[in-house]
């Protein structure tokens, strides 16, 4: 088609403008947290992945933001991880138990665990994430109310649990139960265009990762840093909050947190980031 020739010719000259030129693409740097923990932030994509290399969103942020994540003192997300630790030890519910009553020291009992979620839950016949696993524990073992979405310390406790896997490569078990069909459903959600702006996750994070959309440097949209500290909100942001925010921005109605649609998306997007170190709490723009 002749029109494509024209478009292609223009693409070559991209970035020639001077109205604040932004350097594109992921930054070539290694993330080492506190000068000790060497993080895997770029790795070969798993079989069947549409991209060759899986890259953490950390590489797409500015030097100042990258530095914040590399230092666990300067990372403001760690304030909330500490609050999550307090929640871990807090006795709640009719059974007089805290998380620690059964699981003890999280640095031992939860090490590496966060890297394996979402996980197949045979009881509900669905995948569950860390947030829902916490609620399952609360209702079944603690005699406590489930935490509502993003409230009651849910983000903090989730971040605390996932932080115990800092550095562990993301690896979810897609052979368990019916995980394959949830993966498939998640893939469908990922590629479905939504809203008046008619965009899918792939429009930005697969087709355009590395490009700037205005001044926003599009990443691959991996979620290995979640719950993540977002500079914009000055707070921890959960995966489902971000999913909903992105879908809303396409000018669409957006699904409920932990709905089947978003759980399937979490399974699929987590898989897309397979092999990346858990960065929780990441620091993003």
């Amino acid at each position: 088609m002749k029109k494509f020739g024209k478009v292609g010719a223009v693409l070559v000259t991209l970035g020639a403008l001077s109205a604040v030129a932004l350097a594109g693409g992921p930054v070539d740097q290694q993330l080492v947290i506190d000068g000790e923990i060497e993080m895997i932030t770029r790795t070969e994509a798993p079989d069947g992945h549409p991209l060759d290399e899986v890259i953490s969103g950390w590489h797409y942020r500015t030097g100042e933001t990258r530095a914040l994540e590399a230092d666990t003192f300067e990372n403001p997300g760690m304030l909330f991880v500490e609050q999550g630790e307090a929640a871990w030890n807090k006795i709640e519910g009719t059974e007089g138990k805290s998380c620690a009553s059964c699981h003890g020291d999280a640095s031992e009992s939860m090490a590496g665990i966060g890297a394996q979620y979402p996980k197949w839950d045979a009881d509900s016949g669905k995948p569950i994430n860390v947030e829902l696993q916490i609620n399952k524990c609360r209702t079944e073992n603690m005699g406590a109310e489930p935490l509502p979405f993003d409230k009651g310390g849910q983000k903090e406790l989730t971040a605390y649990i996932k932080h115990q896997s800092l550095g562990t490569p993301v690896s979810i078990d897609l052979d368990a139960g019916d995980m394959q069909s949830w993966w498939k459903k998640g893939e469908e959600v990922y590629y479905t265009r939504t809203g008046q702006l008619n965009l899918s996750c792939a429009s930005c994070h697969e087709q355009n990762n590395g490009n700037y959309i205005r001044a926003d440097h599009l990443s691959q949209g991996n979620i290995n840093g979640f719950p993540t500290y977002r500079l914009k909100q000055g707070a921890l942001v959960s995966v489902h909050n971000r999913f909903r925010g992105c879908i809303r921005d396409t000018r669409a109605e957006f699904p409920a947190a932990f709905s089947d649609e978003l759980m399937a998306l979490e399974v699929y997007v987590t898989w897309r980031g397979s092999g990346l170190s858990v960065e929780t709490p990441g620091v993003r723009q």
């Binding site: 403008l17 109205a19 479905t192 939504t194 809203g195 008046q196 008619n198 355009n208 000018r251």
Partner: protein, 154 residues
């Protein structure tokens, strides 16, 4: 694939409608892109390039700078790079082609393009309730942007 229209109308046929359309506005579901072009104004009222320049930059309206860089708007910081740079766009495309691209570029390029249709009901699923049946821009805003783009020559 979402509601791609089959192009059946000929240019001559579109021309015969011009009298009827001159006094009114073509509804988005009546727009017919023919051979990658839309010869006739959507409104019959000439576009205003000065308004078009503003609509182009306005983040609530065209938000064109989100994806396209253009030297003519250097006073605006941060131009995106998701779509092609638009310098000299009027040398590469005719007014009728530019109108078609702004209205619904999916009919010219492919369904794969990221560019939204700014005067099209060819949209994604689950459109926000208050926007159902509405286009991103009005017909006149499209005409204004087209008038602006036709001034962008090398």
């Amino acid at each position: 694939m979402i509601g791609r229209r089959i192009l059946t109308a000929s240019l001559a046929c579109a021309a015969t409608f011009s009298v009827a359309f001159a006094s009114g506005t073509v509804a988005p579901d009546k727009v017919e892109i023919v051979d990658g072009a839309l010869e006739l104004s959507l409104t019959g009222t000439p576009g205003d390039p000065v308004e078009g320049r503003k609509t182009f930059a306005n983040r609530k309206l065209g938000n064109c700078l989100a994806c396209h860089a253009i030297s003519d708007q250097k006073e605006q910081l941060f131009h995106g790079e998701v779509g092609p740079e638009l310098d000299g766009v009027a040398d590469r495309w005719s007014e009728a082609e530019l109108r078609a691209i702004v209205v619904n570029s999916k009919e010219l390029f492919s369904e794969e393009t990221v560019m939204p249709g700014f005067y099209s009901l060819d949209v994604g699923v689950n459109v926000r309730k208050d926007l159902i049946g509405k286009t991103i821009l009005t017909a006149q805003q499209v005409e204004d942007i087209v008038a602006y783009l036709t001034t962008i020559k090398e």
